[in-house]
């Protein structure tokens, strides 16, 4: 599969660009003390990750996600198969200059504070003092820990440590960001921020690999994913390829009375000769995540104090598209941006749900009645019945985050979107 074809609907890649990660027949067998096979954690796994792609490794616990990531980082050696990062062996030090890594748990020197931790990892990249200090300041602000930066890490909550972990993974403005269960331990606010950050980094041309068993988190952000079970790849493709159910249709309107619903059902039966009908009618529920975010936002507006992470910070300038000049080497990113604009093929943007909800009911019904198929939203759960439907399931309207979360990150996202002409990379429009 060519690089362009691989990400045709996912993102924008440079034609002929080499994959960032190539795995062929990757196998990892853990041995016991007597060198007998103990666990075959990964078995004959092949995949590739293109530049500027957000790639998800999905699977339940023990499916081989973390093992794969550890092999990508050189922390484990494959028993068999080939693995190349930027065309080199994962253990190559030069490769690590271009990688940021967030492990599944927070592993830090507990005697250091957050600032010292970030400073320490900044030194690893031979950063000059001033650049390092600036980046540390921005990252601390971004993850909302400026006020707690001098507290030892051992006093941090798990979520706060995850935030530091995220900051250290970004200190070198990496080309490839590897996130192992990035939202584990984070509150919904932090989860949302991480997801927004991943999207923003993707827009900046970074390649992101993330593993998770929290499928909703992955679905929100990835372009393409590979689903593992028992160390074996079970499926792979873009989000739409894997999740769209073409034999069902979901319609969302303002609230309807029983008569109208009955009328719609009647129309459907008439048009299909009685072979199809309304399968499920319900009132959408707000996602709990959104409810939580609303509460936090309200508390902030009332200046309620907290000793934890504030989560207020803007994305560090060196990570943003509009970032000021930084010695971290944004020139390369700008070049990629220019090239990207030149080759980007704008996709037809999916209708924003906020707009959809604002459309008058009669018009929607009219359109429905006029057209044979109108793919507004597709839900695999449709038809399973109310009892089977997961709470806050996909049939619920997806609230527009721009309206509910007033964060600088989002602001910058909107700025960038407007600057670059409505999702010129075709990614943000398909995501919440």
């Amino acid at each position: 599969m060519s690089a362009v074809a691989a990400t045709a609907d996912a993102g924008v890649v440079l034609p002929g660009a080499k994959p960032v990660v190539v795995a062929q027949g990757l196998t990892k067998v853990f041995k016991d003390f007597w060198m007998r096979d103990r666990v075959r954690a990964v078995n004959d796994l092949s995949f590739h990750i293109e530049p500027r792609e957000i790639f998800g490794l999905l699977g339940p616990n023990g499916s081989g996600k973390s093992t794969t990531i550890k092999m990508m980082l050189g922390l484990l050696r494959p028993t068999r198969g080939r693995l190349a990062i930027f065309g080199r062996a994962p253990s190559d030090v030069a490769v690590k200059e271009r990688i940021g890594f967030l492990p599944e748990e927070s592993f830090f020197h507990q005697y250091l504070n957050a600032r010292e931790t970030l400073d320490y990892y900044g030194r690893m990249f031979k950063m000059h003092g001033r650049t390092r200090t600036k980046r540390v300041d921005e990252l601390l602000d971004m993850v909302g820990l400026t006020h707690a930066q001098f507290r030892p890490m051992r006093e941090y909550s798990k979520g706060m440590q995850r935030r530091v972990g995220l900051a250290q993974a970004l200190i070198n403005d990496p080309e490839l960001l590897i996130l192992d269960e990035p939202t584990t331990g984070l509150d919904p606010l932090g989860t949302r921020q991480v997801k927004d950050l991943i999207l923003e980094l993707g827009r900046r041309g970074k390649t992101v690999v993330l593993s998770s068993h929290l499928l909703a988190d992955v679905e929100d952000v990835v372009d393409r994913m590979s689903i593992l079970y028992g160390g074996v790849k079970r499926d792979e493709g873009t989000t739409d390829e894997l999740l769209t159910s073409s034999d069902k249709t979901t319609i969302e309107t303002d609230a309807l009375d029983e008569e109208t619903i009955a009328e719609i059902d009647r129309v459907i039966r008439e048009r299909t000769g009685g072979t199809k009908s309304l399968l499920r009618v319900s009132h959408p529920r707000m996602k709990l995540e959104q409810k939580f975010l609303d509460i936090v936002e309200r508390a902030r507006s009332e200046s309620v104090s907290t000793s934890g992470a504030s989560g207020e910070g803007a994305t560090a300038s060196f990570l943003r598209a509009d970032g000021t000049a930084d010695q971290g080497g944004n020139a390369g990113d700008e070049l990629i941006d220019r090239l990207t604009r030149a080759v980007a093929t704008p996709e037809p943007a999916a209708a924003p749900e906020a707009e959809a909800s604002a459309v008058d009911e009669p018009d929607v019904l009219g359109d429905l009645l006029k057209s044979d198929t109108v793919p507004v939203d597709t839900d695999p759960a449709v038809g399973r019945g109310l009892a089977d439907r997961p709470s806050g399931g996909p049939t619920a309207p997806q609230p527009a985050p721009q309206e509910d979360v007033d964060m600088d990150v989002i602001g910058s996202l909107l700025d960038d979107a407007s600057d670059s002409g409505d999702d010129d990379d075709g990614r943000a429009g398909g995501k919440p």
Partner: protein, 693 residues
């Protein structure tokens, strides 16, 4: 304004560039002023206090009294020679360094204060000094609490020194790159990890409290030796244990806690990580050792300024002649010195004769053995017996050369003394005599004659090392007067003035043409013609002469340098062990290796007498294995063990530059080999583990 705000404000002020520049100027000017004042005072003292060397008396008129020209020339030579005694004694009295030492101390102090200013610590240190003065000042005025005052002052001084050195090292590790980042982090870990902090506190408190443990009534030389022994030797052990424990902990904990995942996914090569860890641990050891060395050195100099036994004040004798007391003489020539130790050589063992005699006896015994019926069996048994008998005979011959019968004499020869001794430098005989069970209530009288000069008779306790200054001596018609004799200086002056007859003999006049010095030791009192009751023997290594060949201060620096080399080696040993072993196992291995290395001299001695077979020739397997292991360990750590820097410091033995070079070469190679192994292991290891279940 709250106190904390005031302190924060003061801290900001001391860290401002203006303060640093201003403080540097003030300290510089003060240092310069003090140096000039000391120099001016010192020069004026020298001008007024030192009498010009008196001219030799005119012996010519003696010719009119019938004295022959040859005798007059001899008198003149003796007078001139005896005049050199004053230089020697003045030299011993000025071992404390005099004006130049004081100037050097002021300059070093000024440099440290300037460094503290640029580290942003000067006001902090000034505050600490003020607090200590307030607390310790009143305590100093009461004899009962004076030790507490000394402890408080010492502890704060050591703490200040440690902080200064530590911060300087951290500043040095601001250099870019992963190696320095890792090293810097190790230092941060050292002062925040409970494990290492305990060791650091123990070192500082132990050293500060050590002076209080010295017995003020014991001879000064013993106090100094005790302090050097525990101050440098004891503290070295604590620092070494810290180095091993912390070196293992900093690497293994990082792997145990998986922090290594974060580190090694950054652009850090295995060699950079290992080097950084080693650098950090070695730097910590260096900081503690430097603090320890400074504390030991300064307090030793303080002790040196206290009156020795037989002195009413330092360097001033209780006697009217202001002679050098024995305590002071031994302190300056045997303890606070850098002397070469020259052991006597025994006569060559007559190997051929012993072999012949052994064969003869073995053949006789084999012939008499009724169990041996064939010629072949008799021959085989004779060969086995010949080896055993030969070994016994050799031991007997060697032992015989160390034994002196009651009333008999034995000559001990010390080669190379002429080459190493300076013309006027004192030479001291160190000897130990054993007899019977070395009963503590028995005193022997031993007589010694050097190079054929009259005997000196000394009462001695058995089983204890004694010293006898054997050069220079003054030979008179009444006998020999040694340097520790209260009359020595007075007699030398009398000879120089022509008021007494005698000859001032230096070591160069005592050695033979080959430069060897011969000492005849008699088991008894020759003047009283009374032999001691039993055989006397000199144990192996129990007879030597020591010759001053360098300065104590330079020796001190070399000793500290070698101690750091040992610590750096231990640091790499610990880091290497922790690259592939868990904390307890790595600690056991590295700690065991450390103990083994320190015990190498004892292992070497034990191996000499270690048998691996029964009397009947049956080989004992486990002893063979133990012997092989011990031999291998001895081979590996031989250089490490033989250095014995602390022992040399305590006994005033010179640590030769050649010894330092050998230490650098051998320990350097071992450290590099261990480091290389650590890098290879680290590169081959999988740092992550299976996280699934």
């Amino acid at each position: 304004m709250k106190l904390s705000e005031r302190l924060a404000s003061a801290d900001r002020f001391q860290k401002s560039r203006g303060f640093k520049i201003g403080a540097s100027i003030v300290v510089g000017v003060a240092t310069l002023g003090l140096v000039v004042a000391v120099l001016l005072t010192g020069l004026s003292d020298d001008a007024g206090g030192t009498m010009p060397a008196a001219a030799l008396p005119d012996f010519a008129p003696l010719a009119e009294q019938g004295v022959s020209p040859e005798q007059i020339e001899l008198l003149r030579e003796n007078a001139a020679s005896a005049g050199r005694a004053r230089d020697l004694l003045d030299g011993l009295r000025e071992q404390s360094g005099g004006v130049l030492g004081l100037v050097l101390g002021i300059v070093v102090g000024g440099a440290v204060l300037t460094l503290a200013a640029w580290l942003g610590l000067l006001l902090t240190f000034t505050g600490i000094a003020g607090a200590v003065a307030v607390v310790a000042g009143p305590l100093w005025f009461f004899p009962e609490t004076r030790d507490w005052a000394r402890f408080a002052a010492g502890l704060s001084l050591l703490g200040v020194m440690f902080t200064t050195i530590f911060r300087t090292l951290r500043l040095a590790f601001e250099l870019p790159g992963p190696v320095f980042a890792v090293a810097r982090n190790v230092l941060a870990e050292a002062v925040r990890l409970r494990l290492s902090v305990v060791f650091i506190v123990v070192v500082l408190i132990g050293l500060a409290a050590l002076p209080a443990s010295l017995d003020p009534d014991s001879p000064l030389r013993y106090r100094v030796q005790s302090f050097l022994q525990y101050g440098s030797g004891g503290t070295f052990w604590i620092i070494a244990l810290l180095t091993v424990t912390f070196g293992v902990a900093t690497v293994s904990f990082e792997q145990r806690d998986r922090v290594i995942w974060q580190t090694m996914t950054k652009p850090v090569a295995a060699w950079e990580y290992v080097l950084g860890k080693w650098l950090g641990v070695s730097a910590l050891a260096a900081a503690l050792l430097a603090v320890n060395a400074s504390g030991v050195f300064l307090f030793t100099e303080y002790l040196r300024q206290l009156p020795a036994l037989g002195e009413r004040e330092a360097f001033v004798s209780q006697g009217e002649a202001n002679e050098i007391s024995e305590d002071r003489l031994i302190l300056e020539t045997q303890v606070l010195s850098a002397r070469a130790k020259i052991e006597n050589v025994y006569e060559d063992v007559p190997v051929d004769e012993i072999r012949e005699e052994a064969s003869r006896r073995a053949a006789e015994q084999a012939q008499r053995d009724p169990t041996l019926t064939t010629e072949a069996a008799i021959d085989r048994r004779a060969r086995e017996l010949a080896a055993e008998i030969g070994e016994q005979l050799t031991k007997q011959v060697v032992a015989f050369q160390r034994v002196i019968e009651p009333g008999a004499a034995r000559v001990f020869r010390f080669p190379g003394v002429g080459e190493r001794a300076t013309a006027d430098g004192p030479v001291v005989l160190r000897y130990r005599v054993d007899s019977g069970s070395n009963a503590p209530d028995v005193t022997y009288r031993m007589s010694a004659s050097v190079a054929g000069y009259p005997y000196v008779v000394r009462p001695i306790a058995l089983g204890v090392t004694h010293t006898l200054p054997i050069a220079p001596i003054i030979v008179t018609s009444a006998g020999v007067v040694t340097l520790d004799d209260p009359l020595f200086e007075e007699l030398a002056e009398a000879i120089r003035s022509g008021l007494a007859l005698g000859r001032y003999v230096t070591v160069q006049e005592m050695v033979d043409d080959d430069g060897a010095l011969s000492v005849q030791l008699v088991n008894g009192d020759v003047t009283m013609r009374r032999p001691n009751p039993e055989f006397a023997s000199v144990p192996a290594g129990g007879m030597s002469v020591s010759v001053g060949v360098g300065s104590y201060r330079a020796n001190f620096l070399r000793v500290m340098g070698v101690l750091w080399l040992k610590l750096a080696f231990l640091a790499m040993l610990a880091v290497t062990a922790a690259t592939f072993l868990s904390f307890p196992i790595a600690l056991m291995i590295a700690g065991g290796a450390f103990l083994l290395a320190e015990a190498t001299p004892f292992i070497g001695d034990a191996l000499e007498n270690f048998g691996t077979a029964e009397r009947d020739g049956t080989v004992i397997l486990h002893k063979v294995v133990a012997g092989q292991v011990a031999s291998a360990a001895h081979w590996v750590f031989q250089t490490y063990g033989e250095l014995r820097p602390t022992k040399r410091l305590v006994t005033g033995e010179m640590l030769e530059w050649s010894g330092v070079a050998r230490a650098v070469a051998v320990l350097g190679v071992w450290t590099a080999v261990l480091g290389g192994a650590a890098v290879v292991i680290f590169r081959r290891r999988e740092l992550a583990t299976y996280s699934g279940r």
